[in-house]
């Protein structure tokens, strides 16, 4: 246990360089991490990279096969598939990352408070949080769609709620374990208030596994966003989204399969890369047991 904390301490000494740096150390980490960096850069610089306007229709050139100048072909409205896939990365990544960020901040707050204060408060919070876990993700999304209408806001909240339980439980488990560590007792002995202990000692020591699980959850979030988009509950036209593109591609599945294949491949590769890199992070931080334990 002590050595484990030491490892995390060393890895967290400037989290930005050494833990992530170490995850990049293996060839698997290099490939997966490299792809993700490339994807993020592509999403950020989309307007400068895309060869065509993602919304520009050209009915004279609909369902064109991959080739020049449309490298990945065009869809039934003659829109450039490559441009739409690139802009889709923006939608997918930003929706998923925003949702997980909300999920982490709310989940960590709830989990930390529940784990630290315990008692009735803990049971109340955990029961409610576990209840949200018992709903299928799609059903949660439908509730939001029914109340605030389809779109990216609904999708974001749906993803945030779907993963809330995971972060709450993980943080709570960390806090409950850390609370018994001698250095926390030592801090109490020095007269520190609960807020100080949580803010300066418990949360910093609990954050490593949360970051890793957050990373993996972004991958799941991308799939969920694509799923909702596929059902028409997520991004609304003309906003490009991987899920919505695949959905519109089903109509000409045999006529122009590239419309559905390329977004699908990108979703798959992204999620695999996220998971591989997350695994490398877990290895770098040496926290596998702490994530399983939650």
């Amino acid at each position: 246990m002590t050595s484990n904390i030491g490892t995390v301490a060393r890895a967290m000494t400037g989290f930005g360089n050494s833990a992530i740096g170490s995850a990049f150390g293996s060839w698997l980490g290099k490939i997966a991490g490299g792809f993700l960096v490339l994807l993020v850069l592509t999403a950020i610089f989309a307007p400068w990279i895309t060869p065509f306007d993602y919304a520009a229709q050209n009915l004279m050139n609909s369902n064109a096969a991959p080739g020049w100048p449309h490298l990945l072909g065009t869809d039934q409205f003659g829109r450039d598939v490559l441009s739409r896939v690139i802009y889709g990365a923006r939608t997918s990544l930003s929706v998923s990352a925003t949702a997980i960020a909300i999920s982490i901040s709310v989940g960590m707050t709830l989990g930390a408070a529940a784990g630290y204060f315990g008692g009735f408060f803990e049971r109340a919070v955990m029961t409610v949080v576990d209840l949200t876990w018992s709903f299928p993700d799609i059903l949660i999304a439908l509730i939001f769609v029914a109340t605030i209408g389809p779109g990216l806001t609904s999708t974001t909240f749906a993803i945030a709620i779907a993963y809330l339980a995971q972060f709450t439980r993980l943080t709570r488990a960390q806090i409950v374990r850390l609370k018994r560590e001698t250095f926390i007792e030592a801090t109490i002995n020095l007269g520190a208030k609960p807020r100080h202990i949580l803010q300066y000692h418990l949360l910093p020591n609990a954050i490593a596994p949360v970051i890793v699980v957050g990373m993996l959850a972004i991958g799941d979030g991308i799939v969920l966003e694509a799923t909702l988009g596929f059902f028409g509950l997520g991004a609304q036209p003309p906003t490009p989204s991987w899920g919505a593109m695949m959905s519109s591609g089903t109509a000409q599945l045999f006529l122009s399969p590239w419309v559905i294949i390329f977004p699908g491949v990108v979703v798959a590769v992204t999620v695999v890369a996220v998971n591989l890199f997350g695994d490398e992070l877990i290895r770098a931080l040496n926290i596998r047991d702490r994530i399983r334990g939650a």
Binding site: G6, A9, T13, E185, L190, G191, K193
Partner: protein, 316 residues
């Protein structure tokens, strides 16, 4: 300064501690000795008001600190005493420091919290305290992480944190257990000097009789959750009244001869759930009589000591 009277502690239905009394003045050093599980650390936790953390509570007796009753003190008021007027040095320095924070900020936090200093005043004070604890290059140490330091150094840092707000009472709960023998002596000497320099009252919890003999003014000997002998250190060592105290003193190795066997006390400390009736020590006592199995001995004052044994003061 600190007066504990008939302290009783319970965890649910079990009562692991009862009938502990002692008093301590400024500049005095009190040793609490006993085997593992005899209630030494529980006594320390009671004084620091930490029992609720582990689900225990004080069910009887009183702890008076500087005229203030502590057993009924609200947690918020207790928080102002902890670290400020009551310092605790924990058993294991290896795990007593936050692994993610540098040494400096951890020690600074105490002065910031209790003496309302700003960050730079607190740092000046930290460096000064680390210096008095004979830590080399205190200013550099502030930028180190705990894992970069040795056990003895970490224990000094823990002591520095306990001293940072200038407490009146220092409770050291087995401060040397986790350390090398050579470092142990240094730490004990350090504590001894601190008491002299700062006019502290020190409660030294240990299972090492020889440490007590060298450092303390008074001794409480504990067995199975009870104080069984209490008195000035000379009296305890010259004329121990309780057979358990005598046995403990006999266990101190004498000299360097190799042909002499180390003596021990046969049997083991009973667990909380099955403390024997009568005198808790009777199953291991070679002088036990019938009365010892049925009646709990009261504290009898004999000379300068007080001991809980039916035969205290008897000629042997």
């Amino acid at each position: 300064m600190l007066e504990v009277r008939d302290l009783e502690v319970a965890f649910g239905p079990v009562a692991p501690l009862s009938g502990v009394s002692f008093s301590l003045a400024k500049g005095e050093k009190l040793g609490i000795v006993g085997e593992s599980g005899s209630g030494k650390s529980l006594t320390a936790m009671s004084v620091m008001g930490l029992l609720p953390l582990s689900g225990g509570r004080i069910t009887g007796g009183s702890i008076v600190f500087d005229g203030q009753e502590l057993t009924t003190l609200a947690e918020s008021a207790y928080r102002k005493l902890r670290g400020r007027r009551l310092g605790l040095i924990t058993q294991n320095p290896m795990t007593s420091l936050d692994p993610l924070q540098k040494i400096g900020p951890q020690v600074d936090a105490v002065a910031v919290l209790h003496l309302s200093m700003n960050a730079s005043e607190a740092r000046t004070r930290t460096v000064e305290i680390l210096g008095t604890l004979r830590i080399p290059e205190p200013a550099l140490i502030c930028d180190r992480y705990p894992h970069q330091m040795s056990g003895g150094m970490k224990q000094r840092i823990v002591i520095a944190m306990a001293l940072a707000a200038d407490p009146d009472v220092l409770v050291a709960d087995e401060p040397t257990t986790a350390l090398d023998v050579t470092v142990q002596a240094q730490i004990i000497r350090l504590l001894d000097d601190l008491v002299k320099e700062r006019d502290l009252a020190l409660v030294l919890i240990t299972h090492d009789m020889s440490v007590v003999a060298q450092t303390c003014d008074k001794v409480v000997v504990m067995y199975a959750g009870r104080a069984i002998e209490y008195g000035p250190v000379e009296a305890i060592f010259d004329a121990p009244q309780h057979p358990y105290t005598q046995a403990l003193i006999n266990c101190i190795p004498k000299g360097l001869s190799t042909d002499e066997h180390l003596s021990g006390i046969s049997g083991t400390v009973p667990t909380v759930s099955n403390y024997p009736k009568g005198c808790a020590f009777h199953p291991r006592c070679d002088r036990a009589k019938n009365i010892c199995t049925s009646e709990r001995p009261a504290f009898i004052t004999y000379g300068n000591n007080a001991a809980a044994c039916h035969f205290a003061g008897d000629d042997r």
